[in-house]
Amino acid sequence: MAVGSLAGCASPTGGPPPGSVTLGLNRSLVSLDNKLNQFDAAVTVQRAVRQGLTRIGADLTPVPVLADRFELTAPTQWTVRLREGIRYSDGSPVRIKDVSTALTMYRQVSGSYIAGFFPEWPTVVPVDERTFTLETKRPLPVLDYLMANILLTPASANVPEELQSGVGSGPYVVTASNRGTGEYTLRRNNNYWGRPARVKQVQVRFVPEESNRVVGLRSGEIDIIDTITPDSADQLSGQPDVAFERVRGTRINQLFYNFRKPDGHPLSKASVRQALSLAVNGKRLADEVLAGSAQPAVGPVAQTLNGAVPCGTYHYDPRRAKQMLEAEGIADGDLRLTLIWETGEFAGDTSVMEAVVQMLGDIGVRVRLRQFEPGGNISEWRQGRAGDWDILGNGYASPVGAALPILQGMYGGTPERERTRDTYQGYINREVLTLLDRAYAEVDAERRQKTTARIQQVVWDSWPSMWAFVPNSVLAYRTRVADVSLEATNSYQLARIGLEA
């Protein structure tokens, strides 16, 4: 009996069940819908359950998913045809009404992340049972990119809020979920309209501490961990059962200024914002603190995105920074700033923040750090409803693959949207708004790109970020899992992964 008990203790109890893969996410997957949030790690899981008409493919261009035709048929009209025989996991067919309902729900949800990308919501006009048109008042030439983020659910089950479970058309179905702990169990969808998933079951776990995820992967308790720091990659390199996937990312991480400051505040002046930028040694941060796993940004969006252009570089010149501050009447110790961020916002976040405190301290600017734990009220702070802050450590995912919608999402804030605090940290720039309007109205791709480039330059010259960088996406997995193919959006197709025999 004693031997039996000991044997029981010794048996591996923490590993994934047979035929199952366990993912350890760095952020809590609060829902399997993307109406409000869409951090990188969530994309993989959300799209395994729910799908859009298109998705952003490996080359960052739209790839048809539920639609087999998605084309611009007039300046303000796109014609779409649903694939034949596509069904949800409950066997019901995907209908045109589901598309129109989804668009309505994404539009109605308050504080939507996706809504920011849409300068105008298209109207669905059915043509036949499978074909419909997406009509807009003004040309919307990037609609195929944007629609990759509208995930479909049966119209009767869709509501203007994040869906916790429910029916989707993806290769997996949710069999258990706990929003509080961020744990989900997905089972292969036997009614899937496409090629069935290779792995029978997927467990999704929220493991906030990077060290715990590393230990979990080493011990075999977790199979795949995403968004890891170079230091963690160091710890895992040389492990016989662990492999890596690395790609240049599309996410931009920023130390973004608060644009809700009153006119007299130093941060409301572009010259002060530029001066603070000059105090940050971005090269050292990228090379030393982030161990070469990131590139300092050279534009307001990641250069991997379609349509992104280089606009300038962040220089390090603390002497000039001090002179510029003095020219604005800011002496040593006059300026005190509060820097806020949420733990895990990006790999190596805390080290970057602490390094920045010293760099700004060198030019006489004192910085108070305020770190929020996941689940805290940073979103209220960001909106200026809970407390005042000056700089926000934030990562902006770019799931649409093109620069223009990202520019619209981040820098397309209007006074009307600011009334509900739905702008990106209060950034409102009339010149940018005019240019965005012009870019979206432009059907000619070349002229549109020219305007898009101009927008990026105008934004860059307004010094919205003290420093920004584009991290490489790094994913580590146990070699028992095959065909993990990380894409530039820092996600991969869950249905494609398999298990070694």
Binding site: S211, D231, Q235, E288, V357
Partner: protein, 303 residues
């Protein structure tokens, strides 16, 4: 009991040997108490003295970063404990963190000692509704999960040094109050209390001029033991991200930050952890030894 004098030949007339006498519980206890006090004092001093004298030691500033010297192992380039992930001297960080952790610990036990002593003495002396209210209050608090309660309060009021100190102090007062109450219950039945009352001293006068001075010595030993617990609690809060805001370097945060490098830079977790162990073991041994010594003295006096 008759004590037999040694005979002229030097032989003991008793069958009890000197070794047996030396190993007897009654003689061993004071000896062990002395050993505990010595070891405890050395371990405590090993941590507290450098922490107290950190400003005088020739060390770089605890927030002074050198990104070119990240994660240097101990005894490299003049860094006794090595450097952390931002090239800061780990020894300076540990000592700086110690100042925060020990300050919070000391303040917390002083406040909790004061609250516990006052409440416990009042409950024990006055009895009745006063005892009922205080006893139920401390029972209620002791039934709550301590760390959860601390995290909740810190989440509500923000993680500042005064809040954390107050929270730990409030968390620890029941220990002191319970002990004080039981000791006062015994003391109040003694003749000197009746004598004081007969001489016309007020209840408050009896309590604070006679009873409290008689129990404060034993209570202060418990408070000393609570210091170790307070330092551990503060470290736990910092480890869980509810400690004082950065850039305060607390021991818990040093361990929390270092755990991401546990397999490549062992010193980032091990050395701050070792310092906590030294202090906690040292303070516990010291408190234990002092308690044993006091107990021995009392027994001796009673005999």
């Amino acid at each position: 009991m008759t004590i037999t004098e040694p005979t002229e030949t030097g032989k003991r007339p008793s069958r009890i040997t000197a070794t047996q006498l030396r190993d007897a519980g009654a003689t061993r206890r004071p000896r062990m108490a002395r050993v505990k006090i010595r070891i405890g004092a050395i371990l405590t001093a090993l941590v507290v003295l450098p922490v107290a004298l950190a400003g005088l030691l020739p060390l770089p500033g605890s927030t002074e970063q050198d990104l070119g010297s990240r994660r240097l192992p101990p005894l490299t380039d003049g860094h006794l404990f090595g450097t952390d992930q931002l090239g800061r001297d780990l020894l300076a960080r540990v000592l700086d963190g110690g100042q925060v952790s020990i300050l919070i610990g000391v303040l917390a036990v002083l406040v909790s000692g004061l609250i516990g002593l006052t409440a416990g003495a009042a409950a024990g002396y006055f009895g009745g509704w006063c005892d009922a209210v205080i006893s139920r209050l401390l029972e209620a608090q002791m039934s709550l999960p301590l760390l959860m309660m601390l995290l909740l309060v810190v989440a509500l009021f923000g993680p500042s040094v005064p809040v954390i100190t107050t929270v730990i102090a409030i968390a620890q007062w029941p220990e002191v109050a319970r002990l004080t109450r039981s000791m006062v219950l015994v003391e109040r039945e003694k003749p000197y209390v009746d004598a004081a009352r007969t001489l016309g001293l007020s209840h408050r006068g009896v309590l604070f001029r006679h009873l409290v001075p008689n129990v404060v010595r034993q209570t202060s030993l418990v408070v000393l033991l609570l210091l170790a617990q307070a330092v551990l609690l503060e470290s736990a809060l910092s480890y869980l991200g509810a400690g004082p805001e950065r850039p305060f370097a607390t021991w818990g945060r040093l361990i929390s930050d270092g755990q991401d490098y546990v397999t490549t830079s062992w010193w980032l977790v091990t050395l701050p952890g070792l310092v906590i162990v030294l202090l906690v073991v040292g303070v516990n041994l010291l408190g234990d030894g002092l308690r044993d010594a006091v107990r021995g003295t009392k027994k001796g006096v009673a005999a």
